[in-house]
Symmetry: C2
Subunit: 208 residues, 2 copies
C-alpha cells in the first residue's frame, strides 16, 4: 500500500476574489475545462433565471423566503445582497466535496472569501488583479453604457477591493487567461503536497 | 508598465531533502532538464574529483585547509563531514542567485536544510519520501555489497531522517520521476505567487 493511499487527503477549497471586471468567471471556465476534476461551487440566488440559465448549473435558483430560511438554519456559508437579490454559497455541497476529497473553486467576494476561510481554515485564497487599474477601467467601461456616476462608484469599489489583496494567500495578475488558469492549477497541485495537509504520512510510511 | 515588472521578485531557494536512496539527485537532474531556469546549487567538497567530474559542475573541489578558512570566514552556509571529507554550500553564489531573481534548488541534508531556512526564511523546503520503507531498503541493498552492519546503520539513519518530515513545508512521495519533478515545478510556480513574496504589488498597481 502506498502512503498516498493511506493518506487520503481532503478536498481543497480555493476562493478566487478580485474586482468586478477582472475576469474571475472566464478564468474559472478555462480552469474547469483544463482540469474537470476541479469543481466550481454553484452559488444560490434569489434573482430570476435568465432564459439560457439552468437550475444547478449557473446558479441554484430559489425565492427570498426559502433563502432566508436557509440563512436562519445555517445552510448558507456566506451571502451578499446585490440589486435587491441574495447571492450565497450553500454550505452542504461544499462540506461534502471536501470530505469526498474533491477540490472546489469559488468565485466569491472579498468578505465572502474571509467567511469561507473561517469555516475552512485550510482554504487556499487567491486574489486576481488586473494588469493595471487603467486596464480595469477600460474593461468596465466597455461593458455597458452606465452613467459616469455609477461608473465612478464601481471604480471606487474596485479600488477598495484591490486594497484587500494583502488578506489573500496568493496573488495573480490576470494578463493572460491560459497563464492564469495554469497558475491556479499549479497552486492546487502544490497545496496538495503541503506537509500540513499530509500530517503523519511519514509514520504511515515507516510501517511499510 | 505591468505590476509584475514593477515587482521584480527575488529568486526562490528550494531545499530538497530525504533519505539516502530516495532519488534526490535523479529528481534534480530531471527537474533542471524540464526547466533549465532552475539552477542547481553546486556544493563544495574536499574529496578528490572522480575522473569524469569537473570543478564547478558536480562539485567545487578544494582542499581541507581552504575549506576550513571558508568556514572561519562565514563563506560556507552549511556543511557536513562524511567519510573524512567536508561537503558544504557556498554562501556567495546562493545569495547572488536570490538577488538576481534566479531560482535555486539544493540537494541537502536535513540539518543542512534547517540551516538554509535560517539564512533565507523564505526557503521552500521539500522532503522526498520513498513509496515505502521496504522499497527504500531494496534500493539501498541493490546499490552495493555492504556488510549487514553498515546496511543496518544506513537504514537506521534513513528511519531517523524520515521522522523529520514534519520540519518541511512540502512532502512528495517519489513514486514516479516525471511526476515528482513536475510537482516541484508546480510548487516553484505557486510559491512565486504567494502574497508574502509580492507585498505591495497592489499599491504599485493602483498607481497605473
Amino acid at each position: 500500500m502506498l502512503p498516498s493511499e493511506i493518506h487520503k487527503i481532503k478536498g481543497i477549497v480555493i476562493t478566487l476574489s478580485g474586482p468586478s471586471g477582472v475576469g474571475k468567471g472566464t478564468v474559472i471556465s478555462r480552469l474547469t475545462e483544463l482540469c474537470p476534476a476541479i469543481r466550481h461551487s454553484v452559488s444560490i440566488t434569489t434573482r430570476s433565471p435568465r432564459p439560457e440559465e439552468k437550475d444547478g448549473v449557473q446558479y441554484y435558483f430559489t425565492d427570498k423566503k426559502h433563502f432566508e430560511e436557509m440563512i436562519a438554519a445555517g445552510d448558507v456559508l456566506e451571502y451578499d445582497e446585490y440589486c435587491g437579490n441574495y447571492y450565497g454559497t450553500p454550505r452542504k455541497p461544499l462540506i461534502e466535496a471536501v470530505e469526498k476529497g474533491e477540490d472546489t473553486i469559488l468565485d466569491i467576494t472579498v468578505p465572502g472569501s474571509l467567511s469561507v476561510m473561517q469555516t475552512f481554515p485550510d482554504t487556499v485564497s487567491i486574489f486576481l488583479l488586473p494588469p493595471s487599474f487603467s486596464e480595469l477601467r477600460r474593461r468596465l467601461e466597455s461593458r455597458g453604457t452606465e452613467s459616469p456616476d455609477i461608473m465612478q462608484k464601481r471604480l471606487d469599489k474596485a479600488y477598495n477591493e484591490i486594497e484587500m489583496t494583502k488578506m489573500f494567500d496568493y496573488v495573480l495578475v490576470n494578463e493572460n487567461l491560459d497563464l492564469t488558469a495554469g497558475r491556479i492549477l499549479s497552486i492546487a497541485e502544490a497545496e496538495k503536497h503541503r506537509y500540513r495537509r499530509l500530517k503523519g504520512i511519514e509514520e504511515a510510511l515507516l510501517k511499510h
